[in-house]
């Protein structure tokens, strides 16, 4: 893969989930830089900073205090320099309706938080790999939809 590390941003209000997430990435053999925020407001503030390295993927929990994942998604898609970042929804609930709605709003990946750590690792790896494929193998990013 690329020598450059993959930049990942996670917004999740649940501490356990953040820990699972960071640990899972640390155990993957992929060079990643993980940045974690606790809610939507923090996320948008982080993205608004000047000169930061934009993430390749943003993982968004839907159910967050202050600003929900959906609100963040809508905002990000309206900001010119952010709208091309891949968005992975990272949520507990997953009704077919929810999944379709977030895809329509511009999310690329919908992850239903798995109940096993091994699965989590597998999923995260898949997302990163596929995202990388879309970035490098000339695939049509408009068709980038993945539900896990």
């Amino acid at each position: 893969m690329n020598n450059e590390p993959i930049h990942v941003l996670l917004a999740d209000d649940d501490e356990n989930d953040r820990n699972f997430f960071v640990t899972a990435f640390s155990e993957l053999k992929i060079k990643t830089v993980i940045h974690v925020v606790k809610d939507g407001i923090e996320l948008m503030e982080h993205l608004a900073q000047d000169g930061i390295k934009l993430p390749h993927v943003i993982f968004l929990d839907l159910n967050m205090p202050r600003k929900t994942g959906m609100e963040c998604l809508n905002e990000i898609k309206k900001i010119q320099h952010l709208k091309d970042i891949s968005i992975a929804i990272y949520s507990t609930s997953a009704s077919e309706q929810d999944i379709e709605d977030t895809f329509v709003k511009g999310a690329n990946v919908y992850i239903k938080k798995p109940s096993s750590f091994a699965t989590l690792k597998k999923i995260l790896k898949e997302v990163i790999t596929l995202n990388w494929q879309y970035h490098t193998s000339g695939l049509n990013r408009d068709n980038f939809l993945l539900s896990l």
Binding site: T23, S93, S95, K113, S115, S116, L120
Partner: protein, 595 residues
């Protein structure tokens, strides 16, 4: 019905009357004409006889003259000359009266004139005879000669007279014949017409009588109806009123007064008096202008409260309608009914309904929140277990490992239960909108969802063309997934699963349990498999929530899947039934209402 018969009869009677009138008039005029003809023909008979008589007289005067003249010639007694002398004057008189009689007949006149001429000639001979003295022999011969000529003339006259009489008789016969021709049909014709009139009168009499009978009966019926309407008003606690828009007057039925707690006809029905009874808060609801009701064109309905004479508040429903009668008179008719009981019970029902709805909503949201929020901690428990198993699995004792495996299994089962419960709570009708959807598309989606299992189990699926229906798409898709998934899950061990999906449109009357429903036609979808099936006695139980036919170790499951199916079908106003013979396969039949 009967009254219209009467009305029809009256117009028929009018026609009959006018017809009869003209017929009688016609008969009378014909009879009059015939009487006139009769008197005319009598005159003609008299006329003929008069002509006859006068002509006879004429000849008898001539004979008198001749006889006298002959007597004188023989006797020379001047006494014999007396009739001769007067006869010429008489002949002239008769001639003139005859002339008068036949003045319209030129032929007869001609004859009469020649008779007169011959008579005059005869007289001239007679008078010349008288002048010749019979005693002279020469004269004797002349007289004889004259007598001879006179006899010939006399013959001629008689001939002419006879001819005239014969002619007159001929006229008489012709006239009589004509008269007979004219009058021979008269009595028969009159008789026939009279008879016809009699028939018409008899017919009219019967019809009038019959109409009268119907009218009487209708009247009686009307009386009964009015009476029963009065009773109905009392029993049904409603009152009727009429509002004459021209005269601007009201008419109330007895019960209309009672409805307001008053004695019948105890006050003047006016708008003001009426408004007086209406609850002050509801007065604005009463249309103040009759135009309001008129413009509505159809039935107007409004509700209001009244305060009765005894102070009790009652709820009134008022229905009114504009009525225009045949003469264009406008009338508003209305019914006021006391709906207090109905109002109170419907209000109670409404409250109950609201409460039920609230409870249902609470239950649904409880269901959703519970299952959703339960997922969160459960997932964490599972994740932590998996981390521990992964990291410290090797250092664990066999016993601990076993316990961990058990915890993991239990947690997994709980997860499946919660997921299914969430799915069940999502099949809430209120949240979903009905859409006109092609069921073939939904079936294809379902098959795509099940693609992995279908491929794994090498199942074949044969589906008929399905219709387009007004459904909640997501739910019907779920229904297909659950039923087909079920068929795949309970397959026979050594037989490849084959699933047949059939469709037909059926009439509700063909199925006893559909007969009582409000829909006429149903869309019947069958899902038939060749799986292990179940005991038909269990057919109803399998739809019960958490009900399972198999031990959990044989076939894992929550017993929610078919309950979801039942709920979905019921959301759509349909029915689902299961039939099976153990070991042969099962058929699930869904009935969804079409019309």
């Amino acid at each position: 019905m009967k009254l219209t018969g009467v009305i029809k009869n009256t117009s028929l009677l009018k026609i009959i009357f006018i017809g009869s009138f003209f017929i009688v008039f016609f008969i009378s005029s014909i009879s009059y004409k015939h009487s006139i003809t009769l008197s005319n023909s009598t005159d003609w008979v008299v006329h003929t006889y008069q002509v006859h008589l006068q002509l006879e007289q004429l000849i008898s005067y001539l004979k008198d003259a001749e006889t006298g003249h002959r007597g004188y010639l023989i006797t020379h007694d001047s006494l014999f000359l007396r009739p001769y002398k007067g006869s010429w004057i008489k002949i002239n008189e008769t001639y003139h009266s005859l002339q008068e009689l036949i003045k319209d007949n030129p032929l007869q006149q001609k004859h009469l004139d020649s008779i007169y001429h011959f008579m005059a000639v005869r007289y001239s001979y007679l008078s010349s005879n008288l002048q010749l003295d019979s005693n002279i022999a020469a004269n004797h011969y002349r007289i004889d000669m004259n007598m001879e000529v006179g006899r010939e003339i006399m013959e001629r006259i008689r001939y002419e007279i006879n001819y005239m009489i014969a002619l007159e008789n001929e006229y008489l016969i012709a006239r009589q014949k004509k008269y007979e021709n004219e009058t021979i049909f008269n009595p028969l014709f009159t008789l026939l017409l009279m008879l016809f009139c009699l028939v018409v009168f008899a017919f009219s009499y019967i019809r009038i009588n019959k109409s009268l009978y119907i009218l009487k009966k209708s009247n009686q019926d009307l009386m009964v109806a009015t009476e029963s309407f009065k009773h109905a008003e009392e029993i049904g606690s409603f009152g009727s009123w009429q509002w004459d828009l021209e005269k601007k007057t009201f008419t109330y039925s007895d019960n209309q007064y009672r409805l307001f707690g008053c004695e019948p006809q105890s006050y003047q029905p006016t708008t003001e008096n009426f408004i007086g009874f209406v609850h002050p808060d509801d007065r604005h609801l009463i249309p103040s202008n009759p135009l309001h009701i008129k413009s509505e064109d159809r039935i107007t309905l409004f509700f209001f409260r009244i305060i009765r004479k005894d102070g009790e508040v009652r709820y009134i429903k008022s229905i009114s309608k504009l009525l225009v009668d045949a003469s264009g008179k406008e009338l508003i008719i209305g019914i006021n009914s006391d709906v207090t009981d109905l109002h109170q019970s419907s209000q109670a029902l409404e409250e109950k309904n609201e409460e039920l709805e609230r409870t249902n909503k609470e239950l649904a949201s409880f269901n959703y929140v519970a299952s959703h929020d339960l997922q969160e901690p459960l997932r964490k428990i599972q994740t932590f277990i998996s981390i521990i198993a992964e990291k410290d699995g090797e250092t664990m004792t066999e016993m601990t490992k076993g316990y961990f495996a058990k915890i993991e299994k239990a947690a997994l089962r709980m997860r499946v239960l919660i997921d299914d419960l969430l799915l069940f709570s999502r099949t809430n009708r209120a949240e979903q909108a009905f859409e006109e959807t092609n069921l073939n598309g939904l079936l294809e989606n379902s098959l795509q969802e099940l693609a992995q299992i279908i491929e794994e189990k090498k199942a074949t699926i044969q589906a008929a063309q399905l219709p387009t229906l007004n459904v909640i798409p997501f739910q019907i898709q779920q229904l297909f997934i659950n039923l087909i998934g079920n068929a795949l899950k309970y397959k026979k061990r050594d037989v490849l699963p084959h699933i047949q999906i059939g469709y037909e449109m059926v009439a509700a009357t063909s199925y006893p349990f559909l007969k009582a429903e409000k829909h006429i036609k149903y869309c019947k979808i069958t899902i038939q498999d060749n799986g292990m099936g179940f005991d038909q006695q269990q057919a109803k139980n399998i739809f019960i929530l958490f009900h399972r036919l198999h031990h959990i170790s044989e076939y894992p499951g929550t017993g929610i899947g078919l309950s979801i199916c039942k709920k979905i079908v019921e959301n759509h106003g349909g029915f689902i039934i299961a039939e099976s013979t153990s070991g042969v396969g099962a058929i699930f039949t869904i009935f969804l209402p079409l019309v």
